[in-house]
Amino acid sequence: MNKNKIENLQELIQAGIIDEVTVQKIHNYYEGKKGNSVSKMLIVFSIFGAFLIGSGIILIIAHNWDELSKTVKTICAFLPLIIGQFLYAYTFLKKKDNVAWKESTSTFLFFAVGACISLISQIYNIHGDLSSFLLLWMLLCLPLIYILKANAISLFYIAGTTYYACEVGYWSYPHSEPYLYWILLLLAIPRYSYLLRKLPESNFTFFHNWIIPLSLIISLGTISKQHEIIMFISYLSLFGIFQLLGNVKLFNNNNKIAGNGYRILGMIGTNSMLLSLSFKWFWEDLARKSFIFSQVIISPEFLAAALLSITACILLFVQSKSKSIKDINPFELVFIIFIITFILGRFNSTLPIIFINVTIFIYGIAMIRRGAITDHLGILNYGLLIITALITCRFFDINISFIIRGVLFVAVGTGFFLANYFILHKRKIESNKDKVL
C-alpha cells in the first residue's frame, strides 16, 4: 500500500470514520492485490522468455548451419520439439496448477512445432506452400490449448489461423476461399467461452475480446469472389453485431472501455466504412453494376451478408425489447440504414450520398452530445473527430472555395477547444464545490 493511502487511512481513523479492524482489512486487501500483480508479471515474462529462448536456440543453431551434416541438422530440428514436449508433459503431470509453467511451456512447444516443420522442409528441400504449412502447424497445436488449458497459445492459434486465411484468400494466386478458417476458429471458441464465463476479468479474456473480432474483420473479405460490392453490407452488419455484443455484460469486460474490443472495433469500423461510402465513386459504381439475380442469390457474398444482417437484426430485437425507443443507441441501427440506402442506390446515385453524409454528421453530433452529458472527454473528442474527418473528406471531392474550407476548419478547431474547455471547467467547479462541503 502506498504512502498516500496510509496517510488517508490515518486521517479517517482520527476522524472516527473507520476503526483499526477495518484498516487492517484494507491493508490485507491491497497486499493481496500486489501479490496478484506480481504473479501476472511473472506469467507475462515467462511467456516472453519462452518465446525468446526458443527463437534464440534456432538462431544459434542457424549460425553454423551450412557446416553441419544432414543428420546433425535433423537432430537439431527435432531437439526443441522434444524438449518442448518433455516440459509440457512435466507441467501436465507436476505443475498443472502453476499458470506461469502452463503458459510458458505451451508457448515454447507451440513455436517448437512450427520451427521443426520449417527446418525439416529447409534441410530436405521439401516444396510446400505457406498455407498448408500454417494449417498443419495450427492443427498440431490446437489440442495443446485444451489439454493444459493454456491461454497464450489460444491467442497465437487465432493469429495463425488468421494468417492462414489471408494466405489462401488474399496473397496466394489464384485466390480461393479459406473455408477451413471458419472451422479452425470455431474450434478455439470453447476455450474463449470458458474464459468469458469463468475468468471475465482476466487479461487473457481482454486480449481475446480484441483478437477474435480483429480476426473476423480481417478474414471476412476472403469470402469475396465476384460480387465484392455486396461485402459492404456484410461488413456493416458485422460491425453492427460487434456494437450490439459490446452491450452484453459477458463481452464488455465489466463495462471497461479498453476491454470492450467489440464495441470499439464496431464503432471505428462503422465510422470508417461510412466515411468511405460518403464519396460518390461507390454509388456511381453500384448504379452502373449489373446483377443477375439468380447468380447473386447463391453467391457467398450474398449468403454472408444475409446471415450477418439477420444475426444483427435478431440481436437488436432482443436487446431493444427491454429498452424504450429513446434508449436505443442510433449507432446500432446504421447497418439497417445502409441496407435501405444500398437498395435505393441501385436506382439513384445522388440521394444515397446525401443520406450517408447526413448520417455521419448526425452520428458525430450525437457523440459530442453524449460526451457532454456523460462528462466523458474521450467520447466528446471522438464526436469532434468524426465531424473533422467528414469535412476533410469533403475537402477533396467538393468544389468549394478556400475561404469556406478555411472557415469550416476554424469552426471545428474552435469547437474542439471550447468543448474540452467547458467540460474541464465544469469538472473544476464541481470538485471545488465538493472541497467546500
Binding site: 535433423t74 530440428a77 529447409q122 528441400n125 516444396h127 505457406l130 504449412f133 489439454i147 489464384p174
Partner: protein, 139 residues
C-alpha cells in the same frame, strides 16, 4: 479423466513427431529409389519467412506443347514423362493429365499457365526452391 487426457497428450506428441518424420521418409525414398535427372538452371534469390533465403530455380525445360489438345487449368495436376538429351540433361518427353501406368519415369507437377492459342503449358515443378546460403549454392 486425467489418464484419458494423458493418452490424448501422447497421441498429440506422436502426431507432432510423425509429420516431420513422414516428410523426411518421403524425401529420402525418392532419393534412394528414384532416378536422377539434371536440370539446367537460371537462378533468382528471394526469402521465405519460415525457411530462410533460397534460390528460385527456373528451368529451361519448363514449357511444353502436349499431344492432348484440351483446355488445361491453372494449378491442375500433370505428369511429366522425362528422358535425357545428348548432354545428359532432363528433357520432357510428354505431359499427361493421368498418372502413367507402366514403369515410366515421371515427375508430378502443376500447370502454371496455359496458352490456348499455341496449346502450350508452362510447368510449375515441385522443386523450384533450393534453401541454404546463396553464396555456396551459386558456386
Amino acid at each position: 479423466m486425467k489418464n484419458f487426457t494423458f493418452i490424448i497428450l501422447i497421441i498429440v506428441f506422436l502426431a507432432q513427431l510423425a509429420f516431420p518424420l513422414k516428410m523426411i521418409i518421403e524425401s529420402e525414398r525418392i532419393l534412394t529409389s528414384g532416378k536422377e535427372y539434371k536440370f539446367l538452371l537460371e537462378p533468382v534469390d528471394p526469402s521465405d519467412p519460415f525457411r530462410g533465403k533460397y534460390i528460385t530455380l527456373h528451368f529451361k525445360a519448363n514449357e511444353f506443347t502436349p499431344e492432348e489438345k484440351r483446355e488445361w487449368e491453372k494449378q491442375e495436376n500433370i505428369y511429366i514423362n522425362l528422358t535425357t538429351d545428348t548432354a545428359g540433361f532432363a528433357k520432357i518427353l510428354n505431359v499427361k493429365a493421368e498418372c502413367p501406368e507402366n514403369n515410366i519415369d515421371y515427375v508430378k507437377a502443376k500447370v502454371d499457365y496455359y496458352y490456348s492459342s499455341s496449346n502450350t503449358i508452362t510447368i510449375k515443378y515441385p522443386f523450384e526452391s533450393l534453401y541454404g546460403r546463396i553464396k555456396s549454392k551459386r558456386s
